[in-house]
């Protein structure tokens, strides 16, 4: 490349627009008199233009980004469940079961049973804590966002993954709204149950 080795790094920095501003003007002056460096700058600029254009073609379509958030929360929810299982296992281990190697089998059986319950029956760990929190407006906003993104059908999953765990389902109007938003899912039954409890004045069901 340029015979003017002294300026090769500068030529790359200049083409990359990384040359410090203090060096820019003297280098531009140098370019006027140095054909090697001028050619080098032109060549490096061409290389960078080509790679920029080629990389710009690798754009991520909007549809690919839709499920990122939900998958992150699903992954977190699975970890929370695993943490619970590991706590159960730790309990068995620390309790010093007299059954020797049967201990591991017992823990495994409990773990399998719990996982099977999650898969077949659904959310045994989905406690009613979910409905005790605040910021109901944000729940609406997020549900609306999912609706707009066409993933309203996944509302139940969103609830299961604690995505809305900071949101309130405390008052009658909130529960009615939840029932409406969760239409077509088992969460309508949950809303009904809470509504009934609320109407009968049983505050412990909240």
């Amino acid at each position: 490349m340029p015979k003017c080795k002294k300026s090769e790094g500068q030529a790359i920095d200049y083409a990359s627009k990384l040359l410090p501003s203090a060096e820019e003007e003297p280098f531009e002056e140098h370019l006027k008199h140095c054909q090697d460096c001028s050619e080098a700058v032109a060549s490096y600029t061409a290389v960078l233009d080509l790679t920029d254009k080629a990389q710009d073609e690798l754009t991520v379509p909007e549809v690919a980004l839709k499920n990122i958030e939900m998958n992150v929360y699903k992954r977190l929810a699975v970890t929370q469940e695993q943490t619970l299982l590991s706590r159960i296992r730790a309990y068995f281990v620390s309790s010093g079961s007299p059954f020797g190697w049967y201990k591991t089998a017992a823990v495994s059986s409990v773990a399998i049973a719990l996982i099977t319950t999650v898969v077949l029956i659904g959310k045994p760990f989905q406690s009613e804590e979910t409905f005790r929190l605040t910021e109901s407006q944000s729940a609406d906003a997020r549900i609306e966002e999912y609706r707009q993104q066409g993933i309203q059908r996944n509302l139940e999953e969103v609830l299961i993954t604690h995505h809305l765990r900071n949101d309130a389902w405390e008052t009658e109007s909130q529960l009615h709204r939840m029932k409406e938003q969760a239409h077509g899912t088992n969460w309508t039954k949950v809303a009904d149950k809470h509504l009934q409890s609320l109407q009968s004045g049983d505050s412990t069901a909240q």
Binding site: M1, E8, G9, I12, D13, A15, S16, L18, S43, Y44, A46, V47, L48, L50, T51, D52, K53, A54, Q55, E57, L58, T59, V60, P61, A64, L65, I68, E69, N71, V72, R75, L76, T79, E135, S138, R142, R165, N166
Partner: protein
């Protein structure tokens, strides 16, 4: 949520228990991180999986995060480390390595129905040749080049992301550009790109 709130403020809100703050951070960065990983791993599904992993790790570590560097730099650091792990695993199990042509380009490139299909094909081939040249850079050169050139990180931020001295980043960048010139020059002299 106010878009003018800076990332570090959102992190502080998250640490104070405001879940929405993490949603906003994901919203801000999921596209950037996905694009960065797609360029690095060159496989659509893997890039998606690693993007999820990046935010999963970020969520779990964010509670104890201290603003020693920018949040975005920290996020890119997680992504870079996961990309390195991915490439290492791929090198250990080459039988599972995918060819570049297996990237579902059709899903990634916007399609103009009125454009010339032949020209589109040429463009696709050209893009492929250039990206193959970028893939031939050493892992460090490639990481520095991509973070600096495509993600718009300052050299200092690239240095923080990759745990390198700033001078080393510059050396890798110079070598990357020179290597690309060597690889691409014959192609453009032969009118292949």
């Amino acid at each position: 949520m106010d878009k003018l709130i800076d990332d570090e403020m959102l992190v502080a809100q998250f640490q104070a228990g405001r879940q929405n703050a993490f949603d906003e951070l994901m919203k801000r960065y999921k596209s950037k991180i996905f694009s960065y990983l797609l360029r690095s791993v060159r496989n659509y599904e893997d890039a998606e999986d690693i993007t999820i992993e990046v935010f999963f790790k970020a969520y779990r570590a964010l509670e104890g995060w201290q603003p020693k560097a920018k949040f975005s730099t920290w996020l890119y650091k997680i992504a870079s480390n996961l990309a390195i792990d991915y490439h290492r695993a791929k090198a250990r199990h080459p039988v599972y390595a995918l060819e570049d042509t297996e990237i579902p380009e059709a899903r990634l490139v916007a399609t103009d129905l009125h454009s010339d299909p032949e020209k589109q094909l040429e463009e696709k081939e050209r893009g492929l040749l250039i990206r193959e040249a970028v893939d031939q850079l050493s892992p460090k050169q490639k990481a520095v080049f991509m973070l600096s050139r495509y993600e718009g990180l300052q050299l200092k931020e690239v240095a923080e992301t990759l745990d390198m001295a700033e001078g080393t980043v510059k050396i890798h960048l110079h070598r990357a550009v020179k290597r690309l010139q060597t690889l691409l020059r014959p192609l453009w002299e032969n009118n292949e790109i």
